[in-house]
């Protein structure tokens, strides 16, 4: 009955990596016990108990089973996250989890996968792609942000920021690489890679290549755009959603979405395009801590 995932571990921050001006990754030692071993797409609750006293959900952005480490990658957007950014290695945080369903990573070997991450939405995508790479998936990543300085996890050897897609794909095909990773950067202002939104870049890639599976995480408006784009394409897709969370244990009801009533913290945060069709509030509104609806 007492699940260990609901008990806090107070952990020292082992290392802090500055990813962009506004985004940092925090690494912790993590025992990979049975129900504590995370899957990509799952999240943890982070409890800060000094200076700022609060607790918020964060996706797991890195799982290292050899070193027994996990990481979270946090964008500074408010009180809680600003406080996290002010911490140093050696400072302590409470962590419970992992929670939620995570991405479905069955039968990934040899599959062509398109992974799309917008802004800090690259956090769970990064976790997913590293995991899937080892399982032998061929992954193209669309790494999107407003501007070059805000690109997260784009610094791969395979970064492709020009538009010569056909050349690249033909080469991949010829060499029959498996476990390949290509990163396609995409910025709203064109300061790096493709100029435009992730949806435009997706349309573009789909012209050259067919994919067996798509995974998406980013601002809900972006995900809605991709969802609409893929609606008629019959490509299985998975989207990682966010809603305001309190308990993360599936009891308080804060994160339940219309019309199915599903809990983002238990039935989610990842939903297939089939399930997402049932989430009528997707891309339209969410609820704040009082339960009041707020439009996107």
């Amino acid at each position: 009955m007492d699940k260990i995932i609901n008990n806090y571990e107070i952990l020292e921050i082992k290392e802090i990596i500055s990813e962009t001006n506004t985004i940092k990754t925090f690494i912790f030692d993590w025992e990979m016990n049975e129900d504590r071993t995370p899957l990509p797409g799952q999240f943890v609750m982070i409890w800060s108990f000094s200076k700022v006293f609060d607790e918020k959900p964060m996706s797991i952005s890195m799982i290292d089973k050899d070193k027994n480490e996990i990481g979270i990658t946090v964008k500074n957007i408010g009180n809680f996250t600003a406080n996290l950014h002010s911490l140093s290695a050696g400072d302590k945080l409470g962590i419970r989890g992992p929670y939620g369903n995570g991405f479905n990573t069955e039968n990934i070997k040899d599959k062509n996968i398109l992974a799309i991450g917008g802004g800090v939405g690259m956090a769970p995508i990064n976790c997913f792609t590293n995991y899937s790479k080892e399982l032998g998936g061929n992954i193209d990543i669309i790494c999107a942000s407003v501007t070059k300085d805000e690109l997260l996890f784009s610094n791969s050897d395979n970064e492709i920021n020009d538009n010569k897609l056909t050349d690249k794909f033909n080469k991949d095909k010829a060499t029959k690489n498996i476990g390949t990773v290509n990163v396609f950067t995409c910025t709203d202002d064109g300061t790096c890679g493709f100029e435009g939104y992730a949806t435009h870049r997706t349309t573009d890639l789909l012209k050259y290549k067919s994919y067996d599976m798509v995974v998406v995480c980013g601002p809900e408006i972006m995900m809605k755009g991709i969802f609409d784009l893929l609606k008629d394409k019959k490509i299985p897709a998975q989207y990682s959603m966010e809603r305001y969370m309190k308990c993360a244990m599936g009891i308080c009801g804060q994160c339940c979405v219309d019309k199915k009533g599903w809990r983002i913290c238990v039935e989610g945060p990842v939903f297939s395009n089939k399930d997402l069709k049932e989430i009528q509030e997707f891309g339209k509104y969410h609820r704040n801590a009082s339960g009041l609806k707020e439009k996107y």
Partner: protein, 309 residues
Amino acid sequence: MLKTEISGINFENPLILAAGVMGSNASSLNWILDSGAGGVVTKSFSQEPNLGYSNPTTVAVEGGILNAIGLSSPGVQNFKKELALINKSNKDGQKNIAIASIYGSNPDEFSNLVHNIENDVDMIELNVSCPHAMSGCGAAIGQDPDLTYEIVKTVKNASSNNIPILAKLTPNVTDLMEIAKSAEKAEADGLTLINSLGPGMKIDIDAKKPILSNKFGGMSGPAIKPIAIRWVYDAYENCDIPIIGVGGISNYKDVVEFIYAGAKATQIGTSIMYEGIEIFSKIKNDLKNFMQKNEFNSIDEMIGYSHKN
């Protein structure tokens, strides 16, 4: 076979969702109803919007959890829209029973709330028992027999359609029977026993601090069941109005225990966390089997059984 009745309201079965658990919007309430609950109680709501306490608002402890959600509520005008979306019948065509849980700090707030929603739900449950509410709300009322009398009386008078009123009481008093009798005297149509226990606290020994931002919170889950059973048993002896038993139910045996103690129906909250929402259909089936085996034809025959002889 599983039907039960409280103040003229007929429930398909005696398993009701407890207040504050997956009850913040109509969608999750409908999901629970479709999964087999005989009725649902909404999250407690108030006149004005309230954000509740900041996180951490829940923490797991031995035998259950502590919560100090802080009665977050979008306010009655917004919540009314959710009430309107609760389905009248479930996916199998059985009638759903919707119970609104309301809270306030004074008689005016309570009567305004009743005016606003009495036509939207089947019953109203008065939360005069939350152990971590803001000053003047929740247990601040339910720990005082006179205030309890006043609020119940006000609400009864405020209703223009005579909607059944349940008083949900707190175990955190010296003599719960004194409060229960006050509620009965004020013509409450039923008692819901009990709200969460305590309040209690959990200190993390590494962080060296209480975990909940509110420091203390109400205890719920299997560990509180014996206390709930005792109060239901006592209320059955001391009061004549129907009792709904709540606290720590996680299987059909717990439900039978509450009914034997004197409850006409039961509510389930925290165990959803361990068992999932399938808990309603599971207990329903197990309860039916138990009744068949023990040759009970109706819930009525079982109510208060442990008081007989």
